[in-house]
Structure formats: structure tokens, C-alpha cells
Amino acid sequence: MSSKYSLQEKLSRKLQNSVESGVNASFGGKDDLSAEEITVLDPGLFASAGYDEKEAERGGYSNYSYWRSTVRMFMKNRMAVAMLATMLALLVFTFIQPLLPNQFKANTVNYYASDAVWITVDEQAKMTVGGVKLTKGDYPVQPAREELIAYIRVPESWGVPFVSVQAAGQEEADAIPLEPVPDENNEGWFYVVVPKETPCMVVKSANGEKTTFHKAAWITVDEATRGVTSSTVMLTAGPIVADGPEGTVPVYVQTPASWGAPKMTAATILRGDKGVEVQLTPDPANEGWYYAFVPVDKVMLTILSEDGSVKGANKGVVRAADPTEIKPVVGFISNMKPDDIFWFGTNDIGQDLWARMWAGTRTSLLIGIIVAAINAFVGIVIGLLWGYIRKLDFIFTELYNIVNNIPTTIILILASYIMRPSIPTIIVAMCITGWISLARFIRNLVIIIRDRDFNLASRCLGTPTRRIVVKNLLPQMVSVIMLRMALAIPGAIGSEVFLAYIGLGLPIDIPSLGNLVNKGRSLMMAPSLRYQLFIPAIILSVITICFYLVGNAFADAADPKNHV
């Protein structure tokens, strides 16, 4: 029994008939496939063609790559690239800073070195005594118990200075000259070894024209703040006024012109002492200055204007008694202004602000990045579920209404009650409710995109939900998600500042930008200490602005609409 058709023809006829009639049509008899013929057929012919993910996704033959275009667009924005470079440099620097030479530890309290003093003489012959250990190597000589090393730096024009020392109260003529030795380790510095029984020092320039010697107290009263500044430099144009009575110190006073002829009272340091009025005489040699002889035991000076309505407010700053002695300063190196040792100065307990600054930047960035990452992850996942699964919408919306109204402060206080105040506590407290706004945002986006035609098509084709979410929804949102992420980092840094401000921040031994700004804020009324506010405020602003601009630029670049 044979058919006029070959096997191949039989197959195609059967297929055609089946398609036309819609059923598995049988031809009956010899024209249908016989059992033997079926066994011969390749089973591969009847397997489904399979689904090639790559081929299915291919939308054409362009070489468009989303991320490459994003990067290219980003690179076009010069400003953002510069900011990104700044940001990365800052980030890298915060980590290599502790490894640099000559760094202090952030929490170390610095004390003055007790067996050396550093004396700087400036162009106005003003002498300042510091006590920081500055020498790069060891001390050039080991001072004996009753000796002190004095490092001296004078203006270059002075040449090698003449240095002489004398006991307190002695005449200058009896001074013992010392030979200053240039210090090998510290360029521009000389050192001398001073016996402790002769602690008063005179420094003269090489040609002998300029002298700095503490003999009189010079007091200036500032008009605006009525603050009193005093110095103990020999500044007079003429000779110092005639020696006063025994046991007195000459004091020069300058007050604002509007004050008229000032009056001055001197009191002992005992509390409640009204003091005695001291006669002020205009100094002929220095215009605008008055001089007086103040008893050595009455050093608390109050300066009043002629009518007595205003007075110099800083009582007792003038230690007129014996301003000549050079003593090592003891205690914390507190509130030192920025100089070549402490690059950003020190705070009130002598911690190096430069080190604290970078440690604080590290902490704040760490908090910012972790909080942003956690919030982004949780927010995206929940937002997608919330938007895509209709049944969850009501529950999540109610949850949102409630959580959104619970003040963060309550959560923070509870968190800090359960855990100790620390970095994890802050992170947990910021994350507990932080994800909710991002989730809400994502949800709104999902609802907009969810029922677009391409998603309906995907659903009709039977694409699994997970795939629709990951491949259809997420890429649409990359740009906004990136934007929110980038803004979340400065946001978290800002909330850390806020927490420190309301007193719920990190403990003081974990430096953070919030701590530092807050500390600086408490000192802002003292103009000379404002560097402690300015420096962290500027760094904080630079960091947040960088993140903000880079985030914005990246979001613009990541938006496919701009990839033309």
C-alpha cells in the first residue's frame, strides 16, 4: 500500500488542512501518515521553537547603548564633571588624610610641651609666646631640670637677633647675653637655653635698632565691641615715660575718640573690690594714648569714658603685674587659631580641627551613603510592589499616611533610648521612616507607567511580572531614582546636622560635620573663634553642593529623552 505523496508532502498537506479547518484533520486511508512514517520523523520538528531572550529584546540594529550614552551626556556637562572630580578627590582625601605625615588624631587632646617655648616676633616687634611642640626632629639639646629651651623666630630683616635674659625686676643693664643657635630641624628658628631663674627676655635686631621687651602694658579699647586688647610690646615712639613710683607698672591706654578723656580704675583680683581710680595722663610721645602707673597688686582694670556711660567690658585681661616673664604655657592647646602646626586650629579642649574635620567628613559621608542606599533599596522595592499590585495599594497608602505623620524626633529618641547614641543608631533611626517618601514617589511613577501600551503588550505575551517590573518599569525610572539617591546623600548629611542641632546627634568623641558645625555655632559670638564655625560650614556646603549638582547632572544624562 503506497501513496502518491511523499512523506514531506503528506506533512505539509496535513499542516495546511489543520490550519484551515482548525482541527487535526484526518485524510483517512493511505494519504494520512502511517505509524511507521511517524516513528521515522524527527521529533525536533514538533518541539516548540524556544524563546531567545536576546533576540526577543533586540529592537533593531543600532549600536545605541544606554549607559554609554548616559556617560557621554554627563561628560558634556563640564561643571558637573568638575564637581564629580572635586567630590571624588574629597572622598579619597578623607581616607588618605590619616596616613599623611604630621597628622594629629581626631580625638587626641593636645597639651603644650612643658620644657620648651616658642617665641615669635613680628614686624611690629610684637612678641607672642606659644607652647606647641613644633620641632620636626627632637630637641637640639636636652634641657636640664631647671632649664627651658626657647625657640625664637624674628622677622628676616632683623638678622641674627641679640638675646639676653634677666631675672624678674632686674635692670636691663644686668641682663645676661645668650648666643642664639639656628635650629637645624626648623628653618628660620633660633634656640637658646634659658635658666629658669632668669625668665625675662629681651630680643634685639642685629643692628640694635629694634627691641622687643615687655615692660609696659599697652591697652586698646575697641569702639564697637568695647573689648579690650592688650599687648606688652615696647611700641612707644619716644622713650618710655619716666619711671613710676616703686611697685607700679606703666600702662598705656587708647580709647575711641568719642569717649573723650578716659578714666580708669584698678582693683585687686578679689571679687567685689571696687578699686581705686588711677590718674591717666596724655602721653606726649604717642598721640591718642594715655599712660598711668598701676600698682602691681591691682591689675584688674576698668576703663570708662569721660562721662562714665560706656566702659571697657573685659575686666582683668591685663596682667600688668609682670608681663615680662616667659613661661611655658601649660594645659590644653585650646582655641588655637589656624597656623602651620594646626592647619585648621584647635577647639576648646585642644583637639586638632583639621583631623576632626576629615574624620567628621568621613562619618557624615558614611552615614549619608549608607542611609541613602538603604532607603533607596527599600523604597524602590516597596514602591514597585505598592504601585504594581493593586491589592496592596490601600494598605500601603494608609501606612504612608500614618508613618508620614509620626515625627522623626520620637523615633530618634526611642532609638537612642534603646541603643546607645552612635552611628548605627542614627542610621537606623533615619532609615526606619526614611524610605517611605521614596516608595511613595516610585509608586506614583509606577501607576503612570503601569498601564502604558507596551506593558499591556508584555502582559498579553505572558511575560512574568518580575520581568515586567525589572525590564519594563525600572529602566524608565533610572534617572529619577538616581536623582533621588544623589539628593538623599546631602539630605542625610543635613539631617545629621539637624539632629546635632537639637541635641540628639552623635556623641562628641565621634566627630561629624553636624557636631562640628554645632560646636562652631555655640562659639559664633566670639569673633576670634569664628574659624571653628566657618571651616566646617564651608566644607559641609562644598560637599552637599557637589552631590546635588552631580546628582542633577547625572539625572539629566540618564534620561533617555536627552540621548539624541
Binding site: N401, N405, L414, Y417, G494, V517, Y548
Partner: protein, 313 residues
């Protein structure tokens, strides 16, 4: 519209009830020693008596029930730590007025200024005005406001010889706090208005109007501006009502006796009824603000209607 509003209000009441319950329970987790000033020196009996007096020894559901009952009668209870046994309503009312005075002044200042800045930036898009405005917005948005508030206080007071703290009898002492409050909201209004206007400008009907020869000023004000203002209108009642809550930074910097730091303060002192009262006030205001905003949007833009099913627009 009425039905819609009532429905929303009913749902908000439900939310509010759940919220209060949650916060009530959270507050009960606070440590006991926070309720007394001299906890270390007290004997266990004294503590017990003290807690009983505050009603903290009863089962939780009775405590909550009692609170709701009082709340329904319009009674916020008395403060027991912030100011002992002083009625909360009387305590909060004067503070609210102070905060509102500052908030409203700064809003009156910032709304027109912010809108003007936004319009100016769009009109000169890509030019100097836009760039300067953008720099301002970036600065305000990115830098934590604690930082620039401090500088405003520091230099504002010394350069212009203004009082560094708020004094009720001197109106000039309000200038700096109001400026501090206004700066961020000006930037917010300008930013959003600019964004909405740019979106609106790129729409087809504007191109048509231009092609038709409608004068530029008419396009700007009759079409672009009016359409862009609609989403902004949504925010106005909310921010108007929330001026009551004050600003923590500004009020503490200038020591304004307002609502600003009150919430943080009473939470720290564990004055539970004060906390609850403040939360009830703030959250009802924010819910009401949202509702009013939506309704106002319907008034301003006739295309928006809430009578139909939600989402049909």
C-alpha cells in the same frame, strides 16, 4: 464635591485615630525615669504613686480610651512636665499666634517674590537671570539651612545693626527671621514654577498659538502662567496652615517664643499629652491642607473635577 470631601474627611479621621494610637503606644515605651525630675532620690513607692497619679499604671487600652474620650470633648488635657498642670490649649495658643505671625509674613513676602523669580528665569531661559536664579536655588536646596541661617543672623545683625534676638516690641527684630524663613520658600516656589512653565511652554497648543500669531504677552500670561500655577495652588493651603508649626532653626536662633522647637522639647521631656496634642494639631492641619489644596485646584482649573470617580481625569 461635597460628597467627595466628606468621604476624604471620614478617611482622614480613621487615619488620625490610628496615628494617635500608634504614637500613644510608642510614647509608653519611653523610660520611666523621664517622668520625674529627681528619679534617683525617689523610693519605689513614691515612683509608684507618681505613676498612678499620671494615670500610667492603668492598662493601655483604658489609657487610650480615656484620652480619646477627652479629645472628643475638645480637651487636650494638661501639661505635666513642660508647665505643670497648665491646660495645653492655653499653653499652645499664644505660641501658635507668634509662629503664624512669622510664617504668614514670610509667605506674603516669598510667594510673589518666588513667582516673579520663576517667571523671570523662564523668560530669560539659558541667560544670566536663569543662571543666577539657578545658582541661588542650588545653594539653598543643597546647603543645610542651619548653616546659612547662622550666617544671616551673624552678619545681618552686625552689618545692618539689627537686634540679634527677637523682641516682641521691636518690629525690626522680625526682619532677619522673616528673611531666613522666606529664602528657602522663595527658592522652592521659583524652582517649581520654572519647571512647570518650561513643561507648559513645550506643549503643542502653545506652538499653535504662536503660529496663529497670538501676542507673546497673552501666551505667557493667559496660557503658560495660568496653567503652570495650577499645581502650585495645590500646595498653598497646606503651607499656609503649617505656618503654625513654626521653624525649629529660626525660632531657636532668634529665641522666638513660637511652636518651632516645642515638639522636640516636649518629646525630650516626655510630656506625653503635649506631644499628642501637637501631633493631633499638626497632622490634622496637614491632612486638611491637602484636602483644601485639592479642592482649590478644582476651583482654579475647571477641567479638574472630583465629583467623578477618582482617576478619571
Amino acid at each position: 464635591m461635597l460628597k467627595y470631601s466628606l468621604m476624604r474627611l471620614a478617611r482622614s479621621v480613621l487615619t488620625l485615630v490610628i496615628l494617635i494610637t500608634v504614637i500613644f503606644i510608642l510614647l509608653r515605651q519611653m523610660p520611666v525615669e523621664g517622668y520625674f525630675t529627681n528619679f534617683e532620690k525617689m523610693s519605689p513607692t513614691a515612683i509608684d504613686v507618681g505613676l498612678r497619679k499620671l494615670g500610667l499604671k492603668d492598662p493601655l487600652h483604658i489609657q487610650i480610651g480615656r484620652y480619646f474620650l477627652k479629645l472628643l470633648q475638645g480637651d487636650f488635657g494638661v501639661s505635666f512636665r513642660y508647665r505643670v498642670n497648665y491646660p495645653i490649649a492655653q499653653l499652645i495658643w499664644p505660641k501658635m499666634l507668634v509662629s503664624m505671625k512669622f510664617g504668614l509674613t514670610s509667605m506674603v513676602l516669598s510667594l510673589p517674590l518666588g513667582m516673579a523669580l520663576g517667571v523671570l528665569m523662564v523668560r530669560g531661559k539659558g541667560r544670566l537671570a536663569d543662571k543666577l536664579g539657578n545658582a541661588y536655588i542650588v545653594f539653598i536646596e543643597a546647603v543645610p539651612n542651619a548653616v546659612y541661617f547662622i550666617f544671616i543672623q551673624l552678619y545681618g545683625s552686625s552689618w545692618f545693626d539689627l537686634s540679634i534676638l527677637y523682641k516682641a516690641e521691636e518690629w525690626t527684630s522680625m526682619i532677619l527671621p522673616v528673611i531666613s524663613l522666606a529664602l528657602p520658600s522663595i527658592s522652592g516656589y521659583a524652582m517649581w514654577l520654572r519647571r512647570y512653565m518650561v513643561d507648559e511652554m513645550n506643549k503643542d497648543y502653545i506652538k499653535l498659538a504662536r503660529a496663529k500669531g497670538v501676542p507673546s504677552s497673552a501666551i505667557w500670561f493667559r496660557h503658560v502662567f495660568r496653567n503652570s500655577v495650577v499645581p502650585m495652588v495645590n500646595l498653598i493651603p497646606g503651607s499656609l496652615l503649617l505656618t503654625i508649626s513654626g521653624s525649629i532653626y529660626v525660632e531657636s536662633l532668634y529665641s522666638v517664643p513660637g511652636m518651632g522647637g516645642l515638639l522636640v522639647d516636649v518629646i525630650k521631656r516626655q510630656d506625653n499629652y503635649m506631644v499628642l496634642a501637637l501631633i493631633v494639631i499638626f497632622s490634622s492641619l496637614s491632612i486638611l491642607g491637602l484636602l483644601l489644596g485639592d479642592l482649590l485646584m478644582g476651583v482654579v482649573d475647571p477641567r479638574i473635577s472630583f465629583a467623578k470617580k477618582e482617576g478619571s481625569r
